[in-house]
Structures are given as structure tokens and as C-alpha cells.
């Protein structure tokens, strides 16, 4: 499905943030990436859909190396990957429905997007997703009138509007309270399973990662130092990922 080979990224030459990372992602299941701040988790996720251009290595998606695509070819790959963000990244002054439809922009011609003309099947799909995320009555509410949890629900629905083959999530719950975090994870993982989409999630919360993921990648200083099931994530392994031990209760 997705195979990352010897991926490196340096924002400043000579100071790599990602150091030759290789990992295979299966066509189903939820993979959580944990690790301390500044260790390259966000960069890794953003390299997959090329929001950040890798310095070296291959990203093989559906049998093709996409690491150096540009223009139209790049947009055609991106629209197959949905992404959910920590700060939701909605267009605040557009309505919920308009935000959902922006998920279809990769499939809409310039002229149709200028006329605000979207396929009826997309609009039907949007209403169905809004029901799934519990915001059916909010279609015409502006995004800036929603709470954090509601906004992230819109964020998830927008990502699924793309009918993606892969779902990426960058700290999707870090701006939310503990209860809403669990609800958002349940919603996102449930919808992904239902639609058989593999998910890659960056997380700060180790317990939440253990609870929802069936595979954990532990990162430290730009490398993957743990790759295995959540049950194998012992205190020793956590020390290896995060360093120190005073924080372990």
C-alpha cells in the first residue's frame, strides 16, 4: 500500500530531521507514531503527502514512487490521501458544507470550482458524512461558530470527502479535552475501519495511542526505534523513545 524507503529530510543541510527511515504500511489498520516533540513525527507525516518535500529516499504509494512528483501528477496523488490536522485547518469563514466540499477540489475543474458547481453525488456524500459525524443540522453554520470538537469532526468529514486510500492525521486530538479526544479517535478510527482505509496518526498521548492503534512506531531523534504492537510497548521501550524515566509513574 505505502512503502517508505530510506527517507531523509533536512530543512538545513547537514542537520537531518529524518534519518533514513524505512517502513511499510499495510492496506488496513491503524498505525500510531509516538515520540518526543521535535523528533520529526510531523515531518514524516507531511513527507508522505509531500506537503514537505523529502531530501532523499522513496515513497512508494500504490506501486509508484511519488517522492518527486510535481504539478497535476502530485495533486492527483494528494487527493487520494485525506489529512486531519491538530488545529483543524478549516476555512473559518466558509460554512461546514463548503468546507466539506473543499475536500473535492482535487477532482473539480477550475471552471466548476469558480461557479461553485459540485457533483450532486458529492453533495449527497457530504450530507451522509455530516450525519455520520453528528453534525447534520450544521451544514450551513460557519466553521468559526463551532467548538473544537465539532471543528475536528468537520476536519475528519472533509478528509473522507476525498474518498481517500490513506488517512493521515497530525496530532488530531492535541487541542481537545480528554473526553472529546476519545470521541474523536473513536469516530475517526471507526469511519476508517468501515471504509477500509489505513490510518497513520501522530500522537502525544501514549495511552490513547495504545488504546486505538494496532501498530506503534516509536520515533526518537529522526529514527524509528520501536516498531511493534501496543502490548510490546514496555516501560523500557518508552524510556528508549522519550529518554529519562522520572515521567513514568
Amino acid at each position: 500500500m505505502l512503502s517508505i524507503r530510506n527517507l531523509s529530510k533536512s530543512y538545513v543541510p547537514g542537520k537531518p530531521v529524518l534519518k533514513s527511515i524505512s517502513v511499510e504500511i499495510a492496506p488496513h489498520g491503524i498505525t500510531a507514531i509516538i515520540g518526543p516533540s521535535g523528533t520529526g513525527k510531523s515531518t514524516l507525516i507531511r513527507c508522505i503527502n509531500l506537503l514537505v518535500e523529502p531530501t532523499e529516499g522513496e515513497i512508494v504509494f500504490e506501486g509508484k514512487d511519488i517522492a518527486h512528483l510535481h504539478g497535476q501528477a502530485l495533486r492527483e496523488v494528494r487527493r487520494k490521501m485525506g489529512m486531519v490536522f491538530q488545529e483543524y485547518n478549516l476555512v473559518e469563514r466558509l460554512t461546514v458544507m463548503e468546507n466539506l466540499l473543499t475536500g473535492r477540489l482535487g477532482y473539480t475543474s477550475a471552471w466548476d470550482s469558480f461557479r461553485r458547481k459540485f457533483e450532486q453525488s458529492d453533495i449527497d456524500h457530504a450530507f451522509k458524512l455530516l450525519e455520520h459525524v453528528g453534525l447534520a443540522s450544521f451544514a450551513n453554520t460557519r466553521a468559526d461558530a463551532l467548538s473544537g470538537g465539532q471543528r475536528q469532526r468537520v476536519g475528519i468529514a472533509r478528509a473522507l470527502m476525498q474518498k481517500p486510500a490513506l488517512l493521515l492525521a497530525d496530532e488530531p486530538t492535541s487541542s481537545l479535552d480528554p473526553k472529546t479526544s476519545v470521541e474523536i479517535m473513536q469516530l475517526m478510527c471507526g469511519l476508517a475501519e468501515e471504509n477500509q482505509i489505513p490510518v497513520m496518526i501522530n500522537m502525544h498521548d501514549v495511552d490513547l495511542a495504545k488504546r486505538f492503534a494496532n501498530r506503534i512506531l516509536g520515533m526518537s531523534e529522526g529514527s524509528i526505534v520501536y516498531d511493534g504492537p501496543p502490548e510490546g510497548l514496555t516501560d523500557d521501550k518508552l524510556k528508549m523513545i522519550y529518554g529519562g524515566e522520572g515521567w513514568l509513574a
Partner: protein
């Protein structure tokens, strides 16, 4: 306790000696600049002493204001002025907004285009409306068309600069999300940037219209139509009561424009 206090008294100054020296240098420079400027514009003291008398004289000639002149000589020119202001604002927006987008480094990440757009913004703005008017009067002949084009071209720089700054301040997150969804650069502008800068767009449009009403009032002096032409004629014929009438009209229109713009802005932003 107090003993400890006395022992640890330390000196504190807001500025270092070098900073203080620099500040005095700046004060000195300002005073010197004022002195040199006053010297070079050669103020003639006699004219200065004479000024109150001249003022009084002029007001005397302006009074009583020729109210009757409004319907026969001012009204039509005033309407033309307002037409010039409105039309030139629309034209300026049509030309200025695309250039503004081109100048924004985030919306159009092509440095060559950014510099090209910035060049247009700076050059249109640095040529004053009166110079543009002289140019267009030469091209189109005297009249409202020349005035409209003059104000429109001068507006490009103002509109484009403020607009490109608003675009550059747009929230990056929304743009990143649309990029990740595979949106094209055109869709990014339409769905990512435009909704975010729309309030600024209306604020700029209203503000520029407000400025253009005043600009178009003086353009008549160079033959570019509007109320300024009536003002120019009245001054040349020493009809000071008519001049007063025209000045009162401009004053009232500017105040009305100000009130209207403030009210509209309150409602849409």
C-alpha cells in the same frame, strides 16, 4: 534584612551610553532638518504678517455664498465627480486585486511574478493622480474619461498593496489543508485565500471610494472633468461667492461619504 538590601543596591539605566548618544543624535538630526527645511522654502515674513488680513478679505468676498449657483453650475459637475469616483474605484479594484494576488508571496510562490507585481504597485502609486490626469487628458482629451482613468490607475498601487498584505497574513493552516486535498493553485485562491480576505476587500473598496471622491474633486483643475472644473472656472473669474458654494458642496459630500462608509463598514465587517 535592610543591611542586605543596602549591600545589593545596583544601578539600573534604561539605555546604554551608546543608545543614549544615538538618541541625542536623532534629536539633533530632527531639529537640523526642520531648520534647513524652513531655510530652503524661503518664507517671506511680510506675506506671513499680512496673512490674517488676506484671510479676512477673501472671506468677505466669499460672503454671501451664491446658493443659487448650485442648480445651474454645481449639481451636474457634482454628479460627474461622484460618477468618476465610483467608476474609477471599480476599475481600480478590477486591476488592483489581480496584481495584489500576484504580489503575495504565499498565494503566488513565483518570485519573478512577485517582483513584477510589486513594480507595478510601486510605479502606479508613485505617479500622483494629477500626473496621471495630465497624461490621460493628453491621450483621451479633456473630460470625465481622463479623470476616471487617472484615479483608477493611481488606485492600483494602494489597493494592490493593502490587498497583498492581507493575503500574506491569511491563515496558513487552511491553505495547507486544501493543498493536502489536491487543490490547484487557482482553487487555493478561490476557496482558501478569498474567503479569508473578503472582509479586507470590502474595507479597501469603501476606503478607496472615499478617497476617490476627494481626489476627483481636484482633478478638474487639469481638465479631467468633475466639480474641480467648475471650481477652476470660478477662481479664474474671481467669482468668490461661487467658489464658496463649490467648497461647501465638496465639504458636505465628503462628510456624507464618510458617514455612509462608516455605517456600511460597521455592518459588513
Amino acid at each position: 534584612m535592610s543591611v542586605v538590601h543596602a549591600a545589593t543596591t545596583r544601578e539600573w539605566r534604561r539605555f546604554t551610553p551608546a543608545e543614549r548618544l544615538a538618541r541625542y543624535a536623532v534629536y539633533f538630526f530632527i531639529v537640523a532638518a526642520v531648520a534647513v527645511s524652513a531655510e530652503s522654502i524661503e518664507i517671506i515674513p511680510e506675506f506671513l504678517y499680512d496673512a490674517p488680513e488676506q484671510f479676512a478679505d477673501m472671506f468677505q468676498r466669499m460672503w454671501p455664498i451664491a446658493w443659487g449657483f448650485y442648480p445651474e453650475g454645481v449639481h451636474e459637475a457634482l454628479i460627474e465627480t461622484l460618477d468618476i469616483a465610483a467608476l474609477s474605484t471599480v476599475l481600480g479594484l478590477l486591476m488592483g486585486i489581480p496584481v495584489g494576488f500576484l504580489a503575495a508571496r504565499n498565494a503566488v510562490p513565483v518570485p519573478v511574478l512577485n517582483y513584477f507585481a510589486r513594480f507595478i504597485l510601486v510605479s502606479t502609486r508613485s505617479v500622483s493622480t494629477l500626473l496621471w490626469a495630465l497624461f490621460f487628458v493628453a491621450v483621451f482629451g479633456p473630460g470625465a474619461l481622463a479623470g476616471t482613468c487617472a484615479i483608477a490607475f493611481h488606485s492600483i498601487g494602494f489597493i494592490g498593496k493593502l490587498f497583498s498584505e492581507a493575503v500574506e497574513d491569511a491563515n496558513k493552516g487552511s491553505i495547507e489543508a486544501l493543498t493536502a486535498a489536491g487543490a490547484s493553485p487557482f482553487s487555493l485562491i478561490l476557496y482558501g485565500y478569498w474567503p479569508q480576505v473578503k472582509p479586507t476587500f470590502w474595507a479597501i473598496a469603501l476606503f478607496r471610494w472615499d478617497i476617490n471622491v476627494r481626489e476627483s474633486a481636484v482633478l478638474g483643475f487639469v481638465g479631467a472633468g468633475g466639480i474641480g472644473m467648475a471650481l477652476d472656472t470660478a477662481i479664474n473669474l474671481f467669482q468668490w461667492d461661487r467658489v464658496a458654494m463649490i467648497l461647501v458642496t465638496v465639504f458636505v459630500v465628503v462628510i456624507i461619504a464618510e458617514v455612509v462608509v462608516t455605517q456600511i463598514r460597521k455592518r459588513i465587517i
